[in-house]
Symmetry: C2
Subunit: 322 residues, 2 copies
């Protein structure tokens, strides 16, 4: 239906109600699972009345597949299932079933490298009651092509980041260990970054220290030691992986307060995310980090991070077919 | 497709990908507008990839229709359009077009009393870029039957409320004047209320004073004066309406800090929401408010509030047909 027509006709005759939505949008290639069905991404939709949309009452996790292997799937499942429990939601699928569903979404999509999301929303109640206890919680999963916070050029020369004054939603409001979609603070940070000519942002915690950025944690390296913010941030799986890699490399690392000054004077800085792994930062607030080049410790960690993707101790194969 | 079958078959053959989602959920009767079409509520869905879902990157407003008339539609449109601008989104529809669309949603639904929502989501970009500037923002509207925070019994005897220790997302994180779907703090408050045997909750602001509840503002009356929290809350239209009604009745009212003790010792307490109007509270944290009955000032305000729904200065007619 044409919008202009709808508008001019409003005070003469009412427009008709169509039976079906005609969606002309393009969607990335992938496969979703919902309500027992495997579907193309164009069909993966939730009602505007789902509390997962209307109240962002949902938790999720994202795991990636690289060269046909899930990376640290167990850790992502652990975090997801814990979040579902903390939000007092119930899944109609078991952990083993989720694993099978994620495998199938990737296998059916055919992607050898994929960004795989599992979601639990509060759903809705059959009576549209506002009582969340009466809602039928909903599980959704999908696999789309692998995505990265940093593009190829940015990975090669390091990201340009600004520190925004926006404060990350504090733990007393929303528990950051329950991975959630409350991102308006992070989106505000992103716009602050664009305004300053940078590519992405770090925002602060309530105490004025560095927290995290849109979809990533951050690490600073000074005097050979690594530090990452310890309070008010998502306990990222890639963040944890850095701790594991540091243990292997004998590098000291700690989760603690990271001040703005400390970040500005760091020798090396990198961000971590399932969407891209370990990604170097070479400019902060317009100034070079260290010598303005990707540092040697960051390079070692990036290399080891990707090596682990073939290691059966860190990854599990996707069963594409039999 | 049967879930059990899908699971047991995963390591033998892959399941098939269906063309279309079969949704067996029931939806409230109503009409939605999206992408130039008017649709039944069962068709009003957004992609799981829309940033409005994945990042709760959206703003909205809800206006109600009572006895065939919109109540204070202009104020809701003002707030909605301001929120869209603040989030740096762009609407493909003008204010006049939105008015016509909302009218049509209500008229086509046939509801004489309706809960009418207008939404703008960040949308997605055709390339699924993570850059919000590249997203095609999306306008959606719908009309469903009128809903209330308090049911009939609760309106007659007053709500039972608890004060939860949960802290409302502070303004430094998310601007509360931009009406948003970041509700996990409010949902946490609701569960705290249920655990305490109450019906709904008030949560705190960062300073430990009373903020608001899930979908409503709150007022306390002491010594003939009304107070409502001034900081860190949504500037509700019903809240503003109470100020206007108080001016008419010659009642002193102010937006300022409201302490927990102050609320506990108030003579009367009520909450305000487009979903239900002015709703009395007669128990807080298990103790009666005043004498535990709905107070006389609350009753006067409730009465005047509903009277205004027929007043052309406060309401505008829905054009159901011509």
């Amino acid at each position: 239906m044409n919008m202009a027509t709808a508008t001019t006709e409003v005070f003469t005759v009412l427009p008709t109600v169509d039976d079906h939505h005609h969606d002309r949008r393009r969607y990335p290639h992938g496969v979703a699972f919902m309500d027992g069905q495997y579907l193309p991404m164009s069909e993966a939709k939730v009602s505007v009345l789902d509390w997962g949309f209307l109240h962002s009452d949902a938790t999720y996790d994202t795991v990636h597949v690289w060269n046909g292997r899930f990376f640290r799937l167990d850790l992502h499942l652990d975090r997801f299932l814990r979040g579902v429990e903390q939000l007092r939601m119930k899944l109609a699928v078991s952990r083993a079933e989720i694993e099978a569903i994620l495998n199938n979404c990737v296998a059916l999509s055919g992607h050898s490298s994929a960004y795989v999301e599992m979601i639990c929303t509060r759903g809705t109640s059959p009576t549209f009651s506002r009582d969340p206890r009466q809602a039928e919680n909903r599980f959704i999963a999908f696999a789309v092509p692998f995505a990265s916070v940093a593009n190829k050029e940015q990975l090669e020369r390091g990201l340009h980041v600004v520190v925004s004054e926006t404060v990350r939603i504090p733990p007393k409001s929303v528990d950051p260990t329950i991975k959630n979609y409350h991102w308006l603070d992070l989106v505000k940070g992103l716009f602050d970054a664009y305004d300053a000519g940078a590519e992405t942002a770090l925002i602060l915690n309530v105490e004025g220290h560095i927290a995290e950025g849109p979809g990533f944690n951050v690490f600073a390296i000074s005097g050979g030691s690594l530090k990452t913010p310890g309070f008010g941030v998502l306990p990222g799986i890639t963040r944890r992986t850095v701790f594991d890699l540091c243990a292997e490399l004998g590098l000291p690392v700690s989760a603690t307060d990271v001040g703005r000054d400390e970040l500005a004077s760091a020798e090396e800085v990198f961000i971590t995310s399932t969407a891209g792994g370990i990604m170097p930062v070479t400019r902060i607030d317009g100034n070079p980090v260290g010598a303005g080049q990707i540092g040697s410790t960051t390079r070692r960690l990036v290399e080891l991070y990707w090596q682990k993707h073939d290691d059966p101790a860190w990854s599990t194969p996707v069963h594409y077919s039999r």
